[in-house]
């Protein structure tokens, strides 16, 4: 009986996940994705310089592809780091 209750509690906990973020580029149509806008793209990078996945950034698939492309272009031009280990301090 106790097991059943525990299972039930676990299921309920799993269901109560936080609300999914909406894509910021879909909500604000005027927002542009550009490899030159470093500050904007920097918000999608982790401390180590990794690109945040969709479940964290909240972007839709279309805009995530554009963001990834822009970050990679910015990295090539040394506007953003590939990894924090190589960053010039």
């Amino acid at each position: 009986m106790a097991r059943k209750i525990r299972k039930k509690i676990k299921k309920e906990k799993r269901r109560s996940t936080s609300k999914r973020k909406s894509c910021r580029y879909c909500t604000d149509k005027e927002l542009m994705i550009d490899y030159k806008l470093i500050r904007q793209l920097g918000s999608f990078l982790s401390e180590r310089g990794k690109i945040a996945p969709r479940r964290i950034s909240g972007n839709c698939a279309y805009h995530q592809r554009r963001v990834v492309e822009a970050v990679k272009r910015a990295r090539l031009l040394a506007l953003l780091p590939y990894t924090a280990a190589h960053a010039t301090l």
Partner: protein
Amino acid sequence: MNEYETIYIGRPDLAVGRIEKINEKIQKILKEGKADVIDCRDWGTRKLAYRIGPCTNGRYVYFNYTGDGHFITELERTLKYEEGVIRYLTVRLVDVDAVAKKKKRINQLEEGHDGFDERGSPPESGSASEGYKGEDNGQKD
């Protein structure tokens, strides 16, 4: 006709006037390729996000131009063999004409017709349908 952007990073320790010479070379290639230069900007010396060879700083120069891209191979070859240039990147921007066409098409679909009259002939050939005329009027408004 497409719009392009080229950015190159020059060495920060270049002699005075060297960057201007590289810019002149680029301008010449663009002129020969019949490209229209929209913007040419020197971003100045910036800190690089990571070390490239011995350089921790770099001088960024930005070009924005339109044209058919046949001269870009020549432009990139010039930048590749230029000793003062560390990195370069050329990007094709979204085709402006294509975007305008697509928007027009979407508007037509939203208004409940696809730009073709009842007989199935496109609006340009023969008499345009009423719906198409209406769409034109709507755009003027």
